[in-house]
């Protein structure tokens, strides 16, 4: 009942959007496709939802071939495209009713599934969708994608343009949906959301960089990362980049993530070096790798 992707390639004119991609999503898994804009996430979603045909390779969704059984697939998947694709001039209720009708069902029939989400937007059910906030649009779009009780749910960047509170609530909803036997494939450009998935695929420039659980990916990070900070951020970055033993230097919020090429790296050496560069208030501390560190290391 999951998703099977085998050697999928897709190109538009002169752009190779997807280059030989293969992976599986297990039944009832919450699987994240993590990568920046233009990585090929949307193209892959469209191939899996039968909207595009791959140049090479094959794929199946819930056991149905995306090419041969496209009509069946369309009955059993829920799809939420990148922008919240709702009818802006219809009210919340009219949107939901419309999608229920075209999927040959009614709101009442599958109310259990959407109830938890719908009650949050129900007070606004007579409001036009165009007048809703980003978070409410997102919830309505999710309700519409769920109204026919799909086996597999495709969510293409559902949290883009949504404030942190709504994002958090959205991920909580996905966790609960997963318990209702729905396989979920979700894409996002935000690395911090990766940790909320069962497994993730890191994708860039049409290629998969790595597939594993978020913990495993972070654990496989090959280096020790140090948080470095001092009185002048720009100077710290410049100095570290000029340091002969540096492996990577990335600003990371209030710190710089630094890795060294040497096995026997000693923070004191670095401290002296930075002091010699006229920096003060220097701190150098070990820190945990994040998905973003892994992504950058793999994409380097």
């Amino acid at each position: 009942m999951g998703i099977h992707i085998e050697n999928i390639s897709k190109s538009y004119k002169d752009v190779n959007a997807l280059k030989n991609i293969s992976f599986d999503v297990k039944p009832n898994e919450l699987f994240g496709l993590i990568g920046p804009d233009g990585a090929g996430k949307t193209t892959l979603f469209r191939i899996l939802t039968t909207l595009l045909i791959a140049n090479e390779g094959k794929a199946s969704v819930a056991g149905m071939d995306v090419l041969l059984d496209y009509k069946e697939i369309r009955k059993h998947v829920g799809y939420m495209p990148g922008r919240f694709s709702l009818y802006q001039d219809l009210t919340v209720e009219e949107n939901l009713k419309f999608f229920a009708t075209i999927f040959g069902t009614t709101i009442e029939e599958n109310y259990d599934l959407i109830k938890e989400i719908y009650v949050q937007i129900e007070p606004f059910k007579d409001r036009r969708a165009g007048k809703l906030s980003g978070g409410m649009k997102q919830k309505l779009a999710l309700c519409c994608a769920l109204i026919h009780k799909p086996k597999v749910l495709f969510l293409d960047e559902p949290t883009t343009g949504v404030d942190p509170v709504s994002r958090k609530e959205f991920w909580e909803m996905l966790k609960r949906l997963q318990e209702k036997n729905i396989t979920i494939l979700v894409s996002t450009p935000y690395m911090d959301e990766a940790a909320l998935c069962d497994r993730i695929a890191l994708i860039q420039d049409g290629k998969i960089l790595q597939i594993d659980t978020p913990e495993a990916i972070v654990n496989q990070y090959p280096k020790t990362i140090y948080n470095v900070s001092a009185n002048n951020m720009y100077q710290v970055i410049k100095s570290l980049k000029a340091y002969s033993h540096q492996h990577s230097v990335y600003p990371f919020g209030e710190f710089v993530h630094y890795t060294d090429t040497r096995e026997d790296f000693n923070t004191l050496d670095l401290n002296h070096y930075l002091e010699a560069q006229n920096l003060t208030n220097i701190t150098i501390e070990k820190t945990q790798a994040t998905i973003e560190d892994s992504f950058m290391e793999l994409a380097k």
Partner: protein
């Protein structure tokens, strides 16, 4: 069926909640008809003219009275000298000057012939032409009356007769043209825009990834516009009959059937446009440039096809509007039945079937 009704309901919500499309749907037909009917006409009404009467006898006075009594002209001023003619024209006060020769009555009786010169301002040739025609016809009328009264046979000159539109009412010419434009606009442009809007919003993606059949999406999109176009056609016909006293010579049922045929052909063009354009803007541009302009310029609505250069005459044949206008004029003005317009009807039918087949074939069940 439930899906279809749901779909059509949604379409009607879109239409009735969008002021802009509401205006195009219902405001445009009325505005256009009134505009063409009242403002843009080549009829004349109360045109100012000047009189230069060298004779000032009973006959010229009678003629002047007749002219000033007609609703077409009002006599703006009387001038005395030939040299004044140019002056009044230059001031733009009058559109025409009637110049009665000296001894008009005498000549009329003696020579059985007298001359009145009609000088018109031909900067607007259409109006000038019409004025000349109107004045001549008034003069001829007068001549006939005189002949009866005096019982002497004057020479009666040839009298041109305008058939089907004896009063030269331009509104009769415009109604079929405007009706064609409106139906084209509503059917082709509005459908293509409403389909591309779904593409732009991304909702088309969801519709495609749903069990609803693509053909049903098209029919659902088109259905409201068939209905609205028919309403529009009725409004136009009613307006032209009751406000402009347009004669309705032929069968209303035939008119209705032909209109539906034309609406279908316009809709299929609309669908075709939507399959090749990705945004509402392109759909609108294609509709306007590719459909509206030819309808206005090449259908014979404004410029007679017979006076076009040959290449344009040939091109005009592929424009459905040309055939529809012929059909409309036939039914409304001449009152002909199907036996006289079956050829045009068949051409229109062929075009519709061709476009429908092409757009169904071109309609994509996927995104590319």
């Amino acid at each position: 069926m439930k899906r279809f009704i749901g779909f059509v309901t949604k379409e009607f919500y879109h239409i009735f909640r969008d002021r802009r499309s509401l205006f195009i749907l219902f405001g445009m037909p009325i505005v256009q008809i009134l505009l063409f009917g009242f403002a843009i006409t080549n009829e004349i009404n109360n045109v100012n003219i000047a009189i230069l009467d060298h004779s000032k006898d009973a006959n010229t006075q009678e003629i002047i009275n007749k002219i000033s009594a007609s609703k077409y002209f009002s006599i703006n001023q009387l001038i005395e000298r030939e040299s004044d003619i140019e002056a009044v024209f230059k001031k733009g006060q009058v559109k025409a000057v009637l110049n009665f020769e000296k001894d008009f009555s005498k000549n009329l009786i003696k020579n059985r012939q007298a001359t009145v010169q009609i000088i018109t301002d031909a900067t607007d040739p259409n109006t000038a032409n019409t004025i000349t025609n109107y004045v001549s016809s008034i003069l001829q009328n007068y001549q006939m009356e005189q002949n009866k009264a005096v019982k002497i046979n004057y020479v009666i000159g040839p009298q041109p007769r305008m058939v089907y539109n004896a009063e030269l009412k331009s509104v009769y010419m415009f109604v079929p043209g405007v009706m064609t434009i409106i139906l084209m606009l509503v059917s082709a442009m509005m459908t293509s825009i409403s389909i591309t809007r779904e593409k732009e919003l991304g909702t088309m993606e969801i519709l495609l990834v749903s069990p609803i059949k693509p053909l049903l999406v098209i029919i659902g999109k088109v259905f409201p516009y068939i209905f609205l176009s028919i309403v529009n056609a009725i409004v136009i016909v009613v307006l032209s009959i009751f406000i402009f006293k347009m004669p309705m010579q032929g069968s209303l049922i035939l008119l209705a059937l032909e209109s539906i045929l034309f609406i279908l052909s316009a809709l299929s063009l609309g669908i075709l446009i939507s399959t090749v354009s990705a945004t509402q803007q392109t759909a609108m541009m294609i509709s306007l440039m590719g459909l509206m302009l030819p309808v206005i310029l090449l259908s014979g609505f404004i410029f007679p096809i017979s006076s076009m250069p040959l290449p344009l005459q040939i091109i005009s044949n592929i424009i459905p509007a040309k055939w529809f206008i012929i059909i409309l004029k036939g039914i409304m003005l001449k009152g002909v039945g199907i036996q006289f317009i079956w050829k045009e009807t068949l051409i229109l039918l062929g075009m519709t079937v061709f476009c429908l087949a092409l757009s169904v074939k071109k309609y994509k069940i996927r995104l590319e």
